[in-house]
Structure formats: structure tokens, C-alpha cells
């Protein structure tokens, strides 16, 4: 099929979905519901495609890269075992929860846990170069929030506690709001470019 057809499809379905946010016609609402249902199914298929791709990549690595053979084999075996056991017994079966609780949760939690050491290292090394105003403000804010997040040995420092509250509710909100607005404007611009056919990330060129 030619490129304009793909672009036309993207624009057409996009306009129907977008119009549903602002207009309330029964036909439009029903059409929108159907289009969105189909989209959710396609996303699930895309997830499946991603998993299959992961499998093929590591299968190929097993045959072409001897140094990574063991790790790729571990990945493939664990994937197949999980698919087999969870697929056979069901996602809510005890064996599925056992695999989840004793393999996935410990590994992922431990990965997140070592982040704490990395973050302290980053904070320490930040001052290694000559500090400027921004790095001092950054580290100062982080230290105040850290100190007042925990109990601080039961010591009551109302001034610091109020400072933490004020930082969280005023300057941090201001900065976060600016960031959110900036991100949103970017999303709107990118989305409009797609709906106008200027951008074709689906490979229609």
C-alpha cells in the first residue's frame, strides 16, 4: 500500500479519537469506543511481538556470540519455563506467585536498592568540581529534604520541618509545574505533527 494511505489512516482515526474529547455525538462516541478497543488489542499483540523479538535476538546471540552464550541461554530457559508454568497453571496460581515473589521481586528490589549507594556517590562527587550556585542549591535542597524525611533521632526541629514543607509546596511546585507545562506543550506539538501528517514514526516514508 502506498504511503498516503498509511498517513490517511493515522490522521483519520486520530481525528475521530481527538474529536471525542470535545464533541458529544452518539455516532462519534460509538465509533471512538470501537476504535479504542481495537487499539488496545493491537497493543497487546505488539507486546507479544516484542517478547518474540527478544527471544529471537538472544537465540541468535547463542549461536553467533560464544562469550554471551551462557547469559542468553539463561534468559531463554527462564522465559520458556515461565511461559510454560504460568501459561499452564494460570497467572494467579500459587506456582506463578511463587516465581514472581522469589525470583522477580528479589532481583528487581535488589537492583533498586543498590541505587541508593550510587546516588550517594553521585552526591559526593558533585562537589568535586568547583561548585557553582546551581549545584549548591541542588545539594542543599537534597540534604534538607533528606534530613527532614526521616525521624532525625526524634529531635524536633520545627524550623527545618516547616522549611521542608515550604520547599515542597512552593518552589518545587513552581519548578515542577513549569516542567509539566513544557512537557505537555512538547507532547501537543509532537501529536499535532503526527495528526497533520508531518511526522510519520510508523515508517510510512
Amino acid at each position: 500500500m502506498r504511503n498516503p494511505v498509511y498517513t490517511a489512516i493515522a490522521i483519520a482515526v486520530g481525528l475521530v479519537v481527538l474529536a471525542g474529547y470535545f464533541l458529544e455525538f452518539e455516532l462519534l462516541v460509538n465509533l471512538r469506543i470501537v476504535l479504542l478497543e481495537w487499539a488496545t488489542i493491537l497493543v497487546a499483540v505488539a507486546l507479544l511481538v516484542g517478547v518474540i523479538n527478544l527471544f529471537t535476538v538472544h537465540w541468535r546471540k547463542m549461536s553467533t556470540e560464544p562469550q554471551n552464550r551462557t547469559n542468553s541461554a539463561v534468559l531463554i530457559i527462564s522465559m520458556m519455563l515461565t511461559l510454560g508454568l504460568v501459561g499452564w497453571f494460570g497467572p494467579t496460581a500459587p506456582i506463578s506467585l511463587w516465581i514472581f515473589n522469589h525470583i522477580q521481586v528479589p532481583i528487581e528490589s535488589s537492583l533498586f536498592a543498590i541505587l541508593s549507594v550510587v546516588l550517594i556517590m553521585a552526591g559526593v562527587r558533585l562537589l568535586r568540581r568547583k561548585p557553582n550556585l546551581l549545584s549548591i542549591v541542588f545539594i542543599g535542597t537534597a540534604v534538607v529534604i533528606l534530613l527532614m524525611s526521616g525521624p532525625l533521632f526524634g529531635i524536633d526541629l520545627p524550623a527545618l520541618a516547616d522549611l521542608r514543607t515550604w520547599i515542597g509546596e512552593v518552589p518545587a511546585v513552581a519548578g515542577a509545574r513549569g516542567i509539566l507545562l513544557g512537557v505537555t506543550l512538547g507532547i501537543v506539538a509532537a501529536g499535532l505533527r503526527i495528526l497533520m501528517g508531518a511526522d510519520r514514526p510508523y515508517g510510512g516514508s
Binding site: L119, G123, L146, L147
Partner: protein, 541 residues
């Protein structure tokens, strides 16, 4: 070694040459020819050559040609220098006086001759002087005056210019010099003819064109550059081993020191099961959640969304348990969904944890509808039409009421999202939180909608969500952020077992981290500065 003087043009040549470099005339005669010449008292030179027959000193092919012609009965005209041509090729005036021979003085080189001097000499030279113009005589005479003129075939403009001046001073210089009348041309295509004008300008001499080598002229520097480039290109094909890094670097040591200090700080309260640190004081954002949950009635439908990563189970177990405990104590009926693939399993896991204190059964008090794919599009589909988006539970049981199915109690009366009394979002990712808030908040802020929307987030999300809580009307009605938020909630409502277990270690950990960052960072900056300053002072002096 002594150079050989060319008999035709008079130029010096290398002893090893057989033919002249300049006029291509033969340099060396055979011994027989030399001896005959000696006997006949003929020396090497033009005049000598002119008296020799072609077959005596010419190349073999010419000799053969002459023999052929003599066999054929022709009388080849002896043009001197051992060459002859068939008579019909020679015009009458050329062949007229065969007996005369042109003589030239030895060592002469005719003025302005630029062409190759070929060993053609008429047998009898040019015709007698019978009315040749004076300038031709002068040209023949002036040949002898051109000795030693070494003009290159590439004319030097300076020389040309100087000669231009000479010509201007002496107009007669433009006239071809008149040599001896009837001077025999000893070389070139007009060899053997008398009084031939030199086809080349007088300032140049017939020379073999300079041989330009086809080799590239490369200096030593250029050669070095070329070799360097070649070695670089060749190296590209070879993999080089990475430079060995130090096994233990400053970074490793710093990492180990921080790890040991932090582990000691948090392990002590855990090992000793210390639970002494007080919970934080009242916070409005978390208190609002407690107020909203307290407004739930029995059988109130509440939607719980499990959208956090399994790696944060410790934080969310601690923050969610007091809230979920409170919700369940109000008798609410729960619907569990997620827009991340691991969410449904997390939800099942969490409900398994709650079984220790509450008997909430799947399909009766709670239902796990599973995974909503598609991000924002999936959310819109679920909000508008949950029955078609997730028709079955995670167990594969039909969830909604239809003509043939009774439907599960937690989903009774639910046709769209605003039919829930409360939506509780458990989220750790800023984009997921933003997607939920953007899609849900416009619906719940419509008039006559009583659905409240509260978030239980990771501590990292607190500054991102607060702007939504701060808006008017609020897009988020309440927030429990991280372990601290869970502690605040437990302070208000009780039942913070997990929070209690972690709280003392959390306090030690945050204090240690702040101290490490301050002391370590200052140490990193101040110590090098102190070590550097005496040197700077010395430099200043």
C-alpha cells in the same frame, strides 16, 4: 670519463650513449667506419659525415634499404649519414648536384635549429649558389657563431627577453645567418640539403624534450605523512585490546566505603528490631486521603490501580497497607486493574499479604480485572466502556453482568469510571501518573460526579504530583508519598506494622546519607583546595 661530442650538433654526450641526446644523431661509428674514416682522412663531424656514404656509417635498416634498391635497379640517392631514399622521392632540386657535398665546420650547430637532426645528408648537398639571397648565406655563416648556446627547449622568458633586446639592437639578427653558401644540412629531415633554413627559432636548440618522470615527486615529510596514514588505515582492521584499567580505583574505594557505612547504619535498627523513632507529624495531603476513605460506606465500589514496578514492593507495601487496611475496614468492594503487565500479579501478591488480617476473597470482595494495554488510549477505552475492554477477570471468569451472566459483586452497577466512589492509584512512574491524572481528572471534575481520586506514590513522585494536588479544582484529592506518607497515614489511622518495622532504619539511612553527602562532598572539594593553595601562593610570589 670523457664525454663524446656529437658530430652533428656538437653537444656533449655521455660516453655510454650511442645516439646523441639532443639531435639523435649517431655518436659512435663502428671500428671499420672509424678506420676507413681515418684512412680517408675523414674526421667526425658534419663535413666528414657528408663525405661518407650512407652505407658506411648509417644504421643497418638504411643499408638494407639501399641494398634493396640497388637490387631493384634503382639508384638510391645518397643523402649522407648512411641513409638514402628512392630517387622518385627526391625532388629534382634536391637531387640536382649529387657530386657536391655539404660541408659544415665541426662542432657547429645551426642557429635556431629546434627539430631533430636526422642523419639525412644529400649525397651532393644543396645546389650551388646560384642566386641565394644574402640572408640565407648569413644564416649559413652564422651557424658557427652559435657555439655553446645551450638554449633549452623550454624557453626561458628572461632569455627570451634578453634576446628580444639583442634583436632590437641588431635588426640584422633577425635575418637568418648566412653561413657558407650551399652549406649542407647534416641532420634532421632536411639532411643533405644545402642552405636549409632552420625551422626553429634561433634562440632554441633542438633538444630531446626533457623527460618528465611519471613518478610522483614526494618530499620526505610527505612520505612520512603517507606512511602514518597508511598505518592508521591498516590499524582500523585490527582490534586493539582495551587499556587495562586499575583493578581498584578511587571510585571503587568510595563505593565500598559508602556501602559499608550505609549498611551498618540501617542494619543496626533491623538486627536489634528497634522501633523507637516517632512517626512524622500531621500532613494535610495524607490526612485528606484518610478523610475521603472514612466517607466510604459498606459495599462502596473502589478501584485500585497497581501501576508500580515490582522493585518498589517494600515502599508500596509500607505505604499502601495502612490505606488498604482502612478501605477494607470500611467494607468497600475492590476492583483491581493495571496498565502495566506486571501490575495484575502485584495486585494478587498484595491481596495475598492482606489475607493475614482480612479475609477478602477473589470474586466476592475483590476482583482482579487484569491488564489494560495501550496507555492513554486503553484508559479512555476502559473509562468509557469497561465491560468490553476487560470482559474477564485474570482468572478467566466472566466479570460483568450480561443476559447470561450474573456478574461479580464488586462490579455491580459499574458502567463507567465515574461509577466508582474512589479511585486509588498506586504509581511510581511520572509518565504513568500524568497519564492517569490527565485522562481521569477532567471526568471526575464534572458537575455531579462524586468520585474522588487519591494517589499512593513513591517518594520520588511527590514533587511531580503536588502541582496537580495544588490546582483549582484539585485534580488529585489526596496523596500518600512513600514511606513517610505511609507513616503519616499510620499515625492517623493506625496499623502501620510494615512502616514501623522500617521507620527507624529509614531515619538512620536518611541521616547517614545527608552526612555522607555533606562531609564527603566538602572533603572532595576542600581538601584538594587546601593542598593546592600553598603552591598557588608560591606562584603568586
Amino acid at each position: 670519463m670523457e664525454e663524446i661530442i656529437c658530430p652533428h650538433c656538437g653537444k656533449p654526450n655521455s660516453p655510454s650513449n650511442k645516439f646523441c641526446d639532443y639531435c639523435l644523431g649517431q655518436l659512435k661509428q663502428s671500428d671499420e667506419q672509424i678506420s676507413e674514416a681515418e684512412h680517408s682522412e675523414i674526421g667526425i663531424g658534419r663535413d666528414d659525415l657528408s663525405e661518407q656514404t650512407p652505407e658506411e656509417y648509417g644504421p643497418d635498416w638504411l643499408k638494407n634499404l639501399q641494398e634493396e634498391h640497388s637490387v631493384k635497379g634503382e639508384e638510391p640517392i645518397d643523402l649522407g649519414d648512411g641513409l638514402s631514399t628512392p630517387s622518385e622521392m627526391i625532388s629534382d632540386w634536391m637531387s640536382g648536384d649529387e657530386e657536391e657535398s655539404l660541408t659544415t665546420e665541426a662542432g657547429e650547430s645551426p642557429p635556431g635549429e629546434g627539430s631533430q637532426v636526422q642523419p639525412f645528408l644529400p649525397h651532393d648537398g644543396f645546389p650551388e649558389d646560384d642566386g641565394l639571397p644574402d640572408w640565407l648565406d648569413d644564416a649559413l655563416l652564422d651557424r658557427s657563431e652559435q657555439d655553446g648556446f645551450e638554449a633549452d627547449s623550454r624557453v626561458d622568458p628572461a632569455i627570451e627577453g634578453s634576446e628580444q633586446d639583442a634583436l632590437q639592437k641588431d635588426p640584422d639578427a633577425t635575418k637568418p645567418s648566412q653561413g657558407k653558401l650551399g652549406e649542407l644540412e647534416s641532420a634532421g629531415p632536411l639532411a643533405g640539403l644545402k642552405g636549409a633554413l632552420s625551422p626553429e627559432p634561433g634562440i632554441t636548440r633542438p633538444r630531446k624534450p626533457a623527460a618528465y618522470t611519471t613518478k610522483l615527486r614526494v618530499t620526505a615529510t610527505q612520505r612520512a605523512h603517507v606512511d602514518l596514514l597508511a598505518s592508521i588505515v591498516e590499524d582500523e582492521g585490527h582490534t586493539k585490546p582495551l587499556p587495562e584499567r586499575k583493578a581498584i580505583s578511587q571510585r571503587h574505594v568510595l563505593r565500598w566505603v559508602i556501602t559499608i557505612i550505609l549498611l551498618i547504619a540501617i542494619s543496626w535498627p533491623i538486627v536489634t528490631s528497634s522501633q523507637q523513632m516517632p512517626f512524622p507529624a500531621y500532613e494535610e495531603v495524607s490526612a485528606e486521603v484518610s478523610r475521603l476513605v472514612s466517607q466510604l460506606n459498606g459495599n462502596s465500589p473502589v478501584l485500585f490501580v497497581f501501576d508500580y514496578e515490582p522493585g518498589l514492593t517494600a515502599e508500596f507495601d509500607a505505604a499502601t497497607t495502612p490505606v488498604m487496611d482502612h478501605v477494607i475496614s470500611r467494607g468497600a468492594l475492590l476492583t483491581l486493574v493495571s496498565i502495566s503487565p506486571s501490575g495484575p500479579i502485584l495486585a494478587e501478591r498484595f491481596m495475598g499479604l492482606m489475607q493475614a488480617s482480612h479475609e477478602y476473597k477473589s470474586g466476592e470482595q475483590y476482583v482482579n480485572l487484569g491488564y489494560i494495554p495501550g496507555g492513554a488510549a486503553g484508559l479512555v477505552s476502559f473509562f468509557d466502556n469497561p465491560q468490553n475492554t476487560l470482559p474477564y477477570t485474570l482468572d478467566g471468569v466472566p466479570a460483568w453482568e450480561t443476559s447470561t451472566n450474573k456478574g461479580l459483586p464488586p462490579l455491580t452497577g459499574i458502567n463507567e469510571i465515574t461509577d466508582y466512589e474512589m479511585v486509588v492509584l498506586l504509581v511510581d512512574d511520572p509518565d504513568t501518573a500524568r497519564t492517569w491524572i490527565e485522562q481521569l481528572s477532567p471526568r471526575i471534575n464534572e458537575p455531579d460526579v462524586l468520585t474522588s481520586f487519591v494517589l499512593i506514590t513513591s517518594a520520588q513522585l511527590e514533587p511531580i504530583v503536588l502541582p496537580y494536588y495544588d490546582s483549582s479544582p484539585p485534580q488529585v484529592n489526596g496523596l500518600v508519598a512513600g514511606l513517610r506518607g505511609g507513616a503519616v497515614y499510620a499515625q492517623i489511622n493506625g496499623n502501620g506494622d510494615i512502616v514501623r518495622k522500617y521507620w527507624d532504619a529509614f531515619g538512620m539511612g536518611t541521616f547517614t546519607a545527608a552526612l555522607l553527602i555533606l562531609v564527603g562532598g566538602l572533603g572532595y572539594y576542600v581538601i584538594p583546595e587546601l593542598m593546592r593553595s600553598p603552591q598557588v601562593q608560591r606562584k603568586g610570589k
